[in-house]
């Protein structure tokens, strides 16, 4: 047995993959299957699952409603479609903003003196030392009506004798967007930095030597060579933003409900695990579809060139 493992690369591979396979099978594949089964069930009046095969949860999610205002038998209720759409657009916007902010900074760090790079990377990582939820609460302290931002602007307005009513910033889509961007920025900076740092300086010189100015060098050399980092960062940011509920819960309140919040409420407040399961699976499918088309276009963040 041992001899076989020593001599067979395939056997070694199987052995190395075994713990994770075991883990994922029992804690991902089986629960996922259970979620699928439950999503086809119905909620009993006291919040239990009545197993069966019904697509009601899915039709409900896409707007079919029997609870209509004018006594109609059925009508379209856009609530859940709106939530799905909001989650999707928020994830897109967050990712785009994060790329826009992370790229210049990553570029700056990658071009900095090697001795200073580690310091800068360290600074980027410092916020991650604080708990995720606490950081979101910190934004609440900044954004709320009596928060730091309103106090400062109010004081300035007072000095200039301008009438000032505090801004309503908390519990708005903007607040959720700001919180998301803040939370996920480091996950974009690091992969982009890694791919930029790997680019040999002589490539920039070669581009200049061949007649490319700074802008063309960036577009034709720097950007394509750093795409693996952008792709990896996008995957690290887009997928969690699609599913997270803490940021929208704290900074969005009842105003900005995302799929994550919907699912959480179905399992806890509404006690309807069948509808929650259906929403979970739809979220997963949406994320998979976007990631699939994205990675098909840009690759999986691996080296562009096959070795």
């Amino acid at each position: 047995m041992l001899k076989r493992i020593r001599e067979s690369k395939a056997a070694q591979g199987t052995l190395l993959a075994l713990p994770t396979t075991f883990w994922l099978f029992f804690l991902l594949i089986i629960p996922l299957f259970l979620t699928l089964v439950i999503s086809f069930g119905k909620r009993s009046p006291d919040g239990d699952v009545i197993y069966g095969f019904s697509l009601d949860n899915y039709t409900r999610l896409f707007g079919y409603s029997t609870d209509c205002p004018d006594g109609q038998a059925s009508c379209f209720n856009p609530l859940y479609v709106q939530i799905l759409w909001r989650s999707l657009t928020l994830a897109f916007n967050t990712t785009a903003l994060v790329i826009g902010m992370a790229y210049p900074l990553a570029y700056f760090i990658a071009r900095a003196h090697p001795k200073k790079r580690n310091l800068f990377l360290f600074l980027v990582l410092i916020p991650l030392w604080t708990n995720f939820v606490i950081r979101v609460y910190a934004w609440m302290m900044l954004l709320r009506k009596e928060g730091a931002i309103n106090i400062i602007i109010g004081a300035l307005a007072n000095m200039l004798h301008i009438p000032f009513t505090p801004f309503e910033m908390l519990y708005t889509p903007g607040a959720v967007l700001v919180g998301m961007v803040y939370e996920f920025l480091p996950f974009m900076i690091l992969p982009i930095y890694t791919s930029l740092e790997k680019i040999d300086i002589s490539l920039y010189e070669a581009a200049a030597d061949l007649g490319a100015n700074a802008v063309k060098t960036f577009l034709r050399v720097t950007l394509p060579l750093s795409m693996p980092g952008v792709v990896a960062g996008t995957i690290l940011v887009f997928i969690p933003v699609m599913g997270t509920f803490i940021v929208s819960d704290i900074l969005g309140g009842r105003q900005v409900i995302l799929v994550g919040n919907l699912i959480q409420r179905q399992f806890l407040d509404a006690r309807d695990p069948t509808f929650g399961s259906a929403a979970s699976l739809i979220l997963m499918i949406m994320t998979l579809v976007v990631t699939y088309f994205y990675t098909r276009k840009f690759g999986f963040g691996e080296e562009i060139v096959p070795a």
Binding site: D200, A206, A207, A208, D209, G211, A212, L225, I304, P306
Partner: protein, 371 residues
């Protein structure tokens, strides 16, 4: 052509700040005039300033003092993309995200060339470096030698006035390097483009160059044709760096219009009749330099001038030649003997302990200033 010189460096100095905060001149008052169509090499060990000089011509570095001229125009702070020179990098610096074709097309696209023209010129360049049919490969799918050719073609496709080559063959194995040396030289002659070639390999420089600048410590030690720098090195550094030499310290005993005699204490004798170079004075401490292959060994005393009695201390057979190490009084001298006849019979050659006579031909023996 606008100017007699393709590239001219006038009293160029480049200073860097070392990590310790000291100022250091990587290039120290260098003046070079490189003619149109010339194959010019900068030769020296690492840190001699050859690569920095090349980078100042390319525009990657700007001189601290002095001026670089290309085709008679002062370059000042002209950026690389506005200079009509192209570089073949030591690391090749190929764009890994582009195909071979796209790598070559890059520079032409920057000029705004039309697609038809790009196609034609890239095809021609690939043909020139014998890579036709490789245009769709990625650089990583090519061998080192092929990558080197892509780098060369990418620079040449731009039809520069001057091609700058920074140790382009350094990463290739010996055999391929020798092939490429001849190929590069042939290509240069065929195209008539000025080549400025940086290398630390003296044999490479001798093989290819029309002229060589031997550099050390940021300064040009000597500039001349391969024959000049080998046969008439300007100083001990050049004599030592290019080829091999025996150095014997001595003092000038007499000096005529065109000949010098030097007393060499370690020989306890005088070496006479050597051609003189400029600036030598009587009584000066000098070095007598003679190349191992230029010493003659005889077994009989021929009663000639500059004939010294010696004893063989070691012989090393290396195929084409045999190195004979001899003691002449207190001096140790290396002599290179060509194996013109078979050495299968050990008696056919010098043996350790044998008494021989060394003849230093005056015309091949040089008097060099002490550094």
């Amino acid at each position: 052509m606008a100017s007699e010189f393709a590239v001219e460096m006038r009293d160029v100095v480049k200073r860097f700040i070392t990590p310790e905060g000291n100022e250091m001149a990587a290039v120290d008052h260098v003046t070079m005039q490189i003619k149109n169509g010339e194959f010019f090499s900068m030769l020296g060990s690492s840190g001699c300033g050859k690569t920095t000089s090349l980078r100042m011509v390319a525009g990657f570095e700007w001189p601290t003092e002095g001026e670089v001229f290309i085709e008679g125009k002062a370059m000042g702070h002209t950026p690389p993309f506005q200079r009509k020179v192209n570089t073949v990098f030591q690391s090749y610096a190929l764009f890994q995200h582009l195909t071979v074709y796209q790598n070559l097309a890059f520079g032409l696209e920057m000029e705004g060339a039309k697609e038809e023209e790009i196609k034609k010129r890239v095809g021609h360049a690939l043909e020139m470096v014998q890579l036709t049919g490789m245009d769709r490969r990625r650089p990583k799918q090519l061998s080192g030698g092929q990558q080197q050719r892509v780098a060369l073609a990418r620079a040449l496709v731009k039809t520069p006035d001057v091609l700058l080559l920074d140790e382009p063959l350094g990463a290739l194995d010996l055999k391929l390097r020798k092939e490429m040396q001849l190929e590069l030289k042939a290509l240069q002659q065929q195209l008539g483009i000025t080549f400025i070639y940086v290398t630390h390999d003296q044999e490479e420089a001798l093989t290819m160059s029309d002229r060589i600048a031997v550099m050390s410590k940021g300064k040009v030690q000597q500039m001349g044709t391969p024959v000049e720098v080998y046969e008439r090195p300007a100083n001990k550094f050049v004599a030592d760096f290019i080829g091999e030499s025996n150095f014997l310290e001595g003092k000038i005993k007499s000096l005529s219009k065109d000949e010098a005699s030097v007393f060499v204490p370690s020989l306890n004798a005088e070496v006479v009749g050597m051609p003189i170079s400029e600036g030598l004075v009587k009584g000066e401490e000098v070095v007598v330099s003679i190349r191992p292959e230029k010493i003659r060994i005889t077994e009989k005393d021929a009663k000639n001038t500059n004939l010294f009695h010696a004893r063989v201390t070691n012989t090393v057979y290396i195929g084409a030649d045999t190195h004979v190490y001899v003691d002449v009084n207190k001096a140790k001298v290396k002599v290179l003997e060509q194996n013109r006849i078979s050495r299968l019979d050990p008696k056919s050659f010098y043996v350790v302990g044998q008494d021989v006579w060394l003849m230093l031909m005056p015309e091949n023996t040089l008097v060099l200033k002490k550094d």
